[in-house]
């Protein structure tokens, strides 16, 4: 038997919360622009995140052009290169992935998957988006201010982040910190909504242990974000004060351009602790929604219930909790006490246990499943492979003695791009191909999708696999130009050129994807309500795309978990979550 039985509903429980009246838009403006409907807010979040993500994509092209063909592109000077690196990292991690997973997928899927009409506080939810948009605008404005964006690296380590040697010292760093503070305020408004909706606004019969794993992933990631972003908030406020008021929270006594600065007595290491207390959970804020989405994609497209649902839930929660006690593994070379490093290496490696449970369960779900190699499934498989790859190099970097020589090399860049760049992006793409029919009522074009998948997947490996090797050679990261050094052979430069060409091609494949998104909106094949034959609640809405209030007159009643695929005796090869037991039985009883 499955470990979560689907037939435990004796009588249907009474509704605990009465219907809450929804805000009804009265004009075009309140329907599509200042909308309080989570589905519209989700689309706004997604479009904004993908737009700013395109900027980061172009920045990565520019960086690869410089790395692959040093000296050829005279318009990229060392300062600009640092600015590109900083903005690329910050945009991708926070303004694209965090916003897209939680603001985009979270807003769209949580109310639908838990059987709610909307988020609990739609007005606050709307504010969340507009503050996020403001944060993005402030961030993007740094490209146009005197001195340009900050070039401090996405970690913004002081003292260099606010000293005059770093590009963007005038305006860039100030606006970057302001943008981060705004983002955190906006995110908190949305995040509170997601958490309370999952905890307190589920429909009848929807226990937490019947939630699709996507909701579990987004929910846990949101809780983590609400506890981790405060550290970044505090660090940003203090760094802003250091920069603007001349306080010395993070600034020791130091000499700048031959003169003694006004600073003294602060602790740069304090910033690193605050930053990584946010920064490490941030990795899992991006990874856990991906875990959840992948679990659902695999189960639906392999027509098989997820293996070990209960363990999957506990693994998500366990990873979330553990990720708060591993942050200093980013700081092995900061000069901290070796016992400290020993502690953090241990906790880091312990995370491998719940993560491995998840990977085994995905593979066991696939095992003897009826695997349909649809585009979402392809992306899901790509995610598993890529995540395992990135996870294995994490074992190297999690150990102090191996990390020290590899620190600040391209190996680190390759590792984190595999594990929290490519892998979550694969989940994003898989999720978009999977849920696009629900959002728009039309399927994405199959041929363009397959082209997009193969170019992105193989291309990503063409970029990042050789990068591990360059890192092992000792090629440092964040260098504008490696130049001629004894330990970097000439062949490494050819490899760099190869990676750059691959990066350009992968980038163009994303344009094909964007074209597909727009083209399919008008010309895509009509999808119907449930094209994949999925059991979870969001596919059972009376209308597609779901209307205002999601569920028509009556909220759905949930009788089972979200993974009843290929149930012996049932009529179809899946049983929707809201199908009454009598209906299943009646269908199944007839031979």
């Amino acid at each position: 038997m499955v470990d979560v039985p689907f037939d435990t509903v004796a009588g249907v429980p009474p509704a605990e919360v009465g219907e809450v009246e929804l805000y009804h838009p009265r004009s075009w403006w309140t329907r599509y622009v200042f909308s309080q409907d989570a589905k519209v807010i989700a689309i706004q979040y997604s479009i904004t995140a993908m737009s700013i993500g395109m900027v980061a994509l172009v920045l990565s092209w520019l960086m690869r052009l410089q790395l692959g063909f040093p000296g050829t592109f005279s318009f990229i000077d060392p300062n600009q290169y640092l600015q590109f690196i900083t903005m690329h990292g910050m945009i991708m991690v926070i303004y694209l992935l965090t916003a897209l997973f939680l603001g985009g997928f979270g807003n769209y899927l949580i109310p639908l998957m838990v059987g709610a009409r909307d988020m609990v506080f739609p007005y606050v939810n709307m504010l969340s988006y507009w503050i996020y948009l403001l944060a993005v605008v402030v961030l993007a404005s740094t490209f146009f201010v005197p001195g340009g964006p900050t070039g401090a690296g996405w970690t913004l380590y002081p003292p260099q982040a606010i000293l005059s040697g770093t590009p963007g010292q005038d305006w860039g760093i100030v606006l970057m910190l302001a943008s981060l503070i705004l983002f955190i305020i906006g995110f908190t408004m949305g995040g509170l909504n997601y958490v309370v909706t999952v905890l307190q606004a589920r429909t009848r019969g929807m226990t937490l242990m019947r939630l699709p794993l996507t909701v579990w992933g987004i929910f846990t990631a949101t809780v983590m974000a609400l506890l981790a972003f405060p550290a970044l908030f505090v660090a940003s406020v203090m760094l802003l004060l250091d920069r603007l008021l001349g306080t010395s929270f993070f600034m020791p006594t130091l000499v700048e351009m031959g003169t003694l600065t006004k600073y003294g007595g602060g602790s740069p290491i304090l910033f690193q602790h605050l930053f990584w207390f946010f920064g490490h959970p941030e990795v899992y804020i991006v990874a856990l929604p991906a875990f959840g989405i992948i679990s659902d994609l695999i189960s639906v497209h392999a027509r098989k219930n997820i293996f070990g649902y209960r363990m999957m839930v506990w693994a998500i929660v366990g990873i979330g909790a553990l990720s708060f006690v591993v942050w200093a593994h980013h700081m092995y070379v900061s000069g901290m006490h070796p016992y400290f490093g020993f502690f953090f290496a241990t906790t880091t490696l312990i995370i491998a246990i719940p993560t491995a449970i998840k990977v085994y369960n995905w593979v066991l779900t696939l095992w003897r499943g009826d695997i349909h190699l649809t585009i979402p499934m392809l992306f899901a498989l790509a995610f598993i492979v890529t995540f395992v790859n990135g996870g294995l190099t994490g074992l190297f970097l999690g150990n102090v003695v191996v990390d020290v020589p590899l620190s600040d090399t391209m190996f680190v860049v390759a590792h984190f791009h595999m594990v929290m760049g490519i892998a979550p992006i694969m989940a994003v793409f898989g999720g978009i191909y999977h849920w696009y029919p629900k959002v728009t009522g039309r399927m994405l074009n199959e041929a363009l999708g397959r082209f997009h998948f193969w170019v992105s997947f193989l291309g990503a490996y063409a970029i990042f696999f050789p990068m591990h090797y360059l890192g092992l050679l000792g090629m440092p990261r964040r260098y504008h130009d490696i130049g001629e050094t004894a330990f970097v052979p000439a062949s490494a430069h050819d490899l760099n050129a190869f990676m750059s060409v691959a990066a350009l091609i992968v980038g163009f494949a994303q344009l094909v994807f964007l074209f597909n998104l727009i083209w399919s909106l008008f010309k895509g094949r009509e999808a119907g309500g449930n094209p994949w034959g999925a059991a979870s609640l969001e596919w059972q809405t009376p209308e597609t795309p779901p209307g205002h209030g999601n569920w028509g007159k009556e909220l759905p009643i949930v009788y089972r978990w979200a993974y009843d695929y290929s149930v012996p005796g049932a009529a179809g090869d899946f049983v929707p979550q809201n199908e009454p037991p009598a209906g299943v039985l009646a269908q199944g009883a007839h031979p």
């Binding site: 004796a10 605990e16 805000y23 609990v120 905890l199 609400l226 929270f249 039985l585």
Partner: protein, 240 residues
Amino acid sequence: MAETALINNIEAPARPAGWRGIAADWSSDQRAFKNVSWGKAMMWIFLLSDTFIFSCFLLSYMTTRMTTTVPWPNPSEVFALTIGDKKIPLILIAIMTFILISSSGTMAMAVNFGYRRDRAKTAALMLATAAFGATFVGMQAFEWTKLIREGVRPWGNPWGAEQFGSSFFMITGFHGTHVTIGVIFLIAIARKVWRGDFDVGRRGFFTSRKGHYEIVEITGLYWHFVDLVWVFIFALFYLW
């Protein structure tokens, strides 16, 4: 038989024991926290997040206090007032703390009268709480003015480590902002109580939802939290 797996179990399943029971309770149908409204749940979770912000501020302050090589100014001398011809250490802070903690008392009474539908007393007590809060902020402004006149700046002060001034202005400023926001909310909600919005089911201006007297309690949660944080600031900044 295959079909047996599908037969609906008429008897309610036995309650699981041990950890499974705890998990089952937490993950129970519809709501994890029974009898907790959406608004109250949201406020609690926000306060948890805000706790992390204040903890980070206080931990950062303590870290810089320990790392700086310059001696830390003595709080009982810096925060002393000369009354008559006597120099009394921490007297202003003591009064401020007393006022803020008293305001928690009036807040608690307001919550009580709110649930009794006593509009006049609820609104009066909320306004009293707001007045206490405003007094607190006013005394803080006085303290800031006094210290700035004596030469304390975020980037330095006459007596020692410059982190003293920066931490002081940052932490009390951030806390004072919280108190100010609380005062604004108290006044706004006291007005709604007074007008009888929650009896006639008047809709909120922004949210277009009907309010309930519970909002008094939710505002109270925030207010008590701000008080509690002050106790930690008092202990860790002024008394250390």
